[in-house]
């Protein structure tokens, strides 16, 4: 008897109308994400803000930032004045706060990108190695992690900045070093649950080397989670930077960040409350939007929905 009566089988399958567009899991996730209106809206908002930050110099031109700077005594500390195109008012140096906010966003977003990337790379490596190794190695690595988490951020930041000076990139790296621990934990958990799955055992049974298993089977299944947590780490990173900026430990003049701006505004809050409104609003909206994007991504990648 022939194997499967293959022609009959093919006929039968074709007749059943198996019309399937081949979609990878990533494509399915994207489709699911796009169905989530809140997440899509939030993505658009973030995209707009990125655009605004990129084109900050344009705003500068629009409001005549430079010119006003010459007459800063005249323009300093002015309340929001729509006719003069100072939508958020000016600060004590006569600089338009709206423009400052745009520039501030640039720095904040740059921090987000660099620091989050640092956190990603270190976190994923640490977590994956710890999860795959298991046993004593894993235990030791996790206890080191616990130790690191218990150290206060401010202390580390102050010490580091005192030692290395207020270099902008040092700031980024410090923040990244603080945030990677969460990523490490999350990735480790994911790797541990993957380690026991059938397809990993199948790969072992096929004779794949441990490196091969890591690269071909574990990493692709971990990137989803990594991306989701990236979008949740980014708001934290921005907040941390703002906090450092508020303490005066952040970026130096003439660069500014949202945190620095809010700090300056806080100093003058009794007499010139408007100085915090602009940057504060942008910060809040940015963080909220990023959180929604992160939520949407997490839902999109959730395997239970498959």
């Amino acid at each position: 008897m022939t194997v499967l009566n293959r022609e009959r089988n093919e006929e039968a399958l074709a007749a059943a109308g198996e019309v399937l567009r081949s979609r990878s899991l990533t494509q399915l996730a994207i489709a699911r994400f796009l169905r989530n209106r809140v997440a899509v809206g939030a993505t658009l908002i973030v995209a707009v803000m990125i655009l605004m930050a990129t084109f900050a110099p344009l705003f500068e031109l629009m409001t005549g930032y430079e010119m006003d700077f010459q007459d800063r005594n005249f323009y300093s500390g002015k309340a929001p004045d729509w006719d003069a195109k100072h939508y958020f008012g000016t600060d004590q140096n006569g600089r338009d706060i709206f423009v400052r906010t745009m520039f501030g966003m640039r720095i904040s977003m740059l921090v987000a990108l660099v620091a989050a990337s640092v956190a990603l790379v270190i976190g994923v490596s640490y977590g994956a190695i710890s999860g795959l190794a298991g046993g004593l190695t894993d235990t030791i690595m996790m206890r080191i992690l616990d130790l690191l988490i218990s150290y206060p951020l401010t202390l580390i930041a102050v010490i580091a900045l005192a030692y290395f000076g207020r270099n902008i990139f040092i700031v980024f790296i410090i923040i990244g070093l603080v945030e990677w621990q969460i990523m490490a934990r999350v990735i480790r958990g994911q790797v541990i649950s993957l380690r026991n799955s059938d397809f990993i055992e199948a790969a072992r049974a096929a004779g794949v080397r441990p490196i091969g298993i890591l690269v071909r089977h574990i990493v692709p299944n971990v990137t989803g989670v990594a991306i989701v947590y990236m979008t949740l780490i980014i708001p934290e990173v921005i907040l941390v930077e703002s906090f450092l900026g508020y303490l005066g430990l952040g970026v130096q003049e003439p660069n500014t960040s949202l945190g620095v701006l809010i700090s300056e505004g806080a100093n003058a809050i009794e007499r010139k409350p408007w100085m915090t409104y602009g940057p504060g609003m942008f910060l809040v909206v940015l963080l909220l939007a990023l959180n929604f994007v992160g939520d949407g991504l997490r839902d999109a990648f959730d395997p239970k929905d498959r």
Partner: protein, 344 residues
């Protein structure tokens, strides 16, 4: 195994559709079925046949994205249109259900006693706790759980799979239901444990005269305990009739193919190890786009163009009141078998 003329539960023109992001899945496409008092009705089907969904619908247990139409008549009421308030006194009380996986059906955080007593007192609000407890012990004894007293205080994970399933059955029978729906209750169990559970079910059924609906994909189990069998394919009924008749004289190509594809030990003790099983070519259809005609047609060795265009209605066999089939082919079981064999 007696049957009376009026059915205790009647399903008419039942359609179930599920809304999914990729389109509507037509899980059940027009079922008409009667359940009589005191009988054990077997529902046989593979995955995608709609066998579980049809009976989940009677108790209102379908997922939120399901739309149903048709009637499920029980005691003069259409269960499908009853609001939850009216449905609750029936659920677990007059119609009870036992599911496939006892581990996920029992709450792992509550003791057996808590869960059983809850099931009792929801429907018997005036029952005192000691009385309820006594009844639970009785029920556990009845399903042959040793040291029932002690077992009550235990948690589900402390019991073996077979015991948990017995607890599920006891739970279902606490309120003396008129109908028991068992959805693949022994599929996840070892064969020796399965045998014990089936014996218990049969004993209890005979003792209480309740109607049992036994949903399974295992033809052997149906042959062992059911009086009537109903074969489903792709959301439709293929064949209905008394078990012995249907299995020895199948009239629907799908039933026949299924019987031939079932490994032999389940058919009789004598078999050869070289015998190849009859493999039904192809696979069950995509329920998002069911074929316009008979759903089995793409895989049927006896099909012709007519089968592709029109859905055969479920009709009684010539000269029989108890047997129905949904197929355009007439002819004996042997003739169908010839066609199947020759197609290979």
């Amino acid at each position: 195994m007696s049957t009376s003329q009026t059915p205790i539960l009647s399903i008419k023109d039942l359609f179930i559709e599920f809304e999914t992001p990729d389109g509507a899945v037509k899980a059940v496409n027009g079922i008409n079925l009667d359940l009589f008092k005191g009988e054990v009705l077997g529902i046989v089907g593979e995955s995608g046949s709609g066998k579980s969904q049809s009976w989940m619908a009677t108790l209102g247990l379908l997922a939120e994205n399901a739309t149903t139409s048709g009637e499920v008549t029980f005691d003069g009421e259409n269960l499908l249109t009853l609001p939850p308030k009216a449905l609750n006194p029936i659920r677990g009380n007059r119609i009870a259900m036992v599911f496939q996986d006892p581990m996920t059906s029992l709450n792992p955080y509550l003791t057996i006693e808590t869960q059983m007593v809850e099931a009792l007192r929801i429907h018997n609000k005036r029952m005192s706790k000691p009385d309820a407890r006594k009844r639970c012990v009785e029920m556990l004894d009845r399903v042959a759980i040793p040291a029932a007293d002690k077992r009550l205080k235990q948690f589900p994970h402390e019991l073996s799979g077979g015991m948990r399933q017995r607890v599920m059955i006891a739970l279902a029978l606490l309120n003396d239901p008129e109908v028991l729906i068992a959805d693949e209750p022994t599929t996840a169990l070892d064969v020796t444990i399965q045998a014990e559970i089936l014996d218990i079910l049969l004993d209890l059924q005979r003792e209480r005269g309740m109607a049992v609906v036994f949903i399974t994909h295992d033809l052997g189990v149906v042959a062992e305990i059911c009086s009537r069998v109903c074969v489903m394919y792709a959301g439709r009924l293929a064949e209905i009739g008394p078990v012995q008749d249907v299995f020895t004289d199948a009239r629907h190509p799908y039933t026949l193919s299924l019987l031939k594809a079932t490994p032999r030990a389940a058919q009789s003790q004598a078999a050869q190890s070289d015998d190849a099983l009859y493999a039904i070519p192809g696979a069950p259809p995509n329920m998002r786009m069911p074929p316009p005609g008979c759903p089995f047609e793409p895989r049927c060795a006896c099909a012709d163009a007519h089968c592709r265009e029109q859905v055969p209605a479920l009709e009684p066999l010539q000269g029989s009141e108890t047997r129905l089939k949904a197929c355009f082919r007439e002819g004996s079981s042997a003739a169908l078998l010839e066609a199947l064999v020759h197609e290979r």
